[in-house]
Symmetry: C2
């Protein structure tokens, strides 16, 4: 342990943090990018509490430091890159920036930004990030913008929550005999172990988008078996992703990746023209956060020199 | 006052209570149906707190008793009929039944039931209740059921919240340039005083369905001016209401009414076949609650006799 300490005393360590809605991932490397340790923390979406997000970031970071065999006190010698939802909003950005964080320095950016950097191993590129929610993101030397991603239920088409909502809307119409029975409605009823609309609505009290996203894979599964309602939903999602992809790369020869838990479901659904837009993801978001930290820290070093 | 007291000492008084999500209405009558007083209380949707709902019911009832020039102590000589959302669910029904209420007797039923009784001045009939939410309701000697009404955003098509959600979804797609500009999107942006999708989504943080319902009339307004997106939304709502109406009365010659804040917007949109299903509302829901109280109390009297 003492040897480890000494070894790192004279070099800057970096931590990359991907703060998600259900958990927070941290990776610790040395200045050469050698992976030293990893950590997990609780939810870190500042929309649902800035203090909890900060605690989760600290928790995941401490775990990474300890995983590396280093003392917790080393945290204040670490430069952190942190990607969080919502910090493009001035209020949340300020709240997080005001945090008396435990790091030597902390650089803050959006979850979209670190996912994008990770995917391309480069600051610049475009991404469709599609899990519980969905958003399109572009970062070039000239512009930086997002499309969609305004949250459930007003936006985030083709996301897990959107797929779940569509499946549940359909199931309620089937249960009320507005629509003919379907495999999709059967699977939704099986999943929630319900027989009536009232029972289904009771299961969804509270309406967290992540609860809807739980049944997203049922839609793809039923579509693959030819269920016409599931196919309709998937078709609407594909249409949205196709327009989104073309809007993100229009007029630019940008690298575009699809990231997130639903990417593996959507990619095979796309037509060949839309598929051709996409390149594979190079690194996960926490590595994007790490790269963001290194770039900002070394840039500042240059300023000082 | 003393004279008033004496006058009512030897007869049963009735109170009809319509407990809504934003306020609670109470009307007090004598045994002959003569209106003695009216009262208003706070929110009385037990979904958002049983205690608050009970307080609102008591508040509105006390106000009606005082409005009639009677002492508050008279409340325990009053037979109450109360219509509340959600009391078709066993848990909420039990919670409300367990309430040590201030009345001589309290009869509890759903908000749908009292609206239906009021509309037809009869226990039996069908109703489409369409305001912030929407639901279809049937009560006959043989059956009693609801269609839709499972809540926002999974159900309640054609409701105010549904119209608002559709308008906002559309506006976000316009702001992201997925769709061409439209009068509806302009009006939504004007209403919320916003220019970007981020600003619009920030206005809707919390996502209460009543917030969406606030812009329902914009959709009808834009449709009347020929806006194609507004017309599409209205058309989808009309289609739903048409099927709902025919499903409610199928095979029965039931009286059907449309009740609630959006009835005045939807009625003129319907085709002549669907319009023909509908009869005008006879009385407001609080009168339905009153009738429900009188029927139950006199029925019990007969049992005792």
């Amino acid at each position: 342990m003492v040897e480890q300490d000494n070894k790192f005393l004279n070099q800057t360590l970096y931590i990359g943090i991907d703060g998600g809605g259900t958990k927070c991932r941290a990776i610790l490397t040395d200045a050469n990018g050698l992976l030293l340790g990893e950590g997990l923390g609780g939810p870190a979406n500042p929309f649902y509490g800035v203090e909890r997000a900060c605690n989760s970031i600290e928790e995941a970071s401490l775990e990474a430091v300890i995983d590396a065999g280093l003392p917790p006190s080393m945290l204040n010698k670490v430069v952190a890159g942190v990607g969080l939802a919502g910090v493009n909003l001035p209020n949340l950005h300020k709240a997080l920036s005001d945090w008396k964080n435990p790091f030597l320095e902390m650089y803050l950016t959006t979850d979209m930004d670190i996912a994008n950097i990770g995917a391309h191993d480069d600051m610049y590129g475009a991404a469709i990030i599609i899990g519980t929610g969905s958003v399109g993101y572009v970062n070039t030397p000239k512009t930086k913008f997002m499309l969609g991603g305004y949250g459930f239920p007003i936006s985030d088409k083709a996301s897990g929550a959107w797929l779940g909502l569509k499946a549940i809307e359909h199931t309620l119409l089937v249960l009320d005999r507005f629509k003919a029975s379907s495999l999709l409605a059967e699977k939704v009823c099986d999943f929630y172990q319900i027989n009536t609309g009232i029972e289904l609505s009771e299961k969804l009290v509270g309406y967290a988008s992540s609860q809807y996203a739980k049944i997203a894979s049922l839609v793809f599964n039923c579509a693959s078996k030819g269920d016409e309602y599931a196919l309709e939903i998937v078709e609407e999602g594909v249409e949205y992703i196709s327009i989104l992809a073309s809007r993100l790369v229009e007029g630019e020869s940008l690298r575009l990746s699809m990231i997130g838990g639903l990417a593996k479901y959507w990619r095979p659904q796309l037509d060949s023209k839309t598929s051709a837009y996409f390149s594979d993801v190079k690194q996960q978001p926490e590595f994007g956060a790490l790269k963001f930290a290194i770039q900002n820290w070394t840039k500042e070093d240059r300023k000082i020199a």
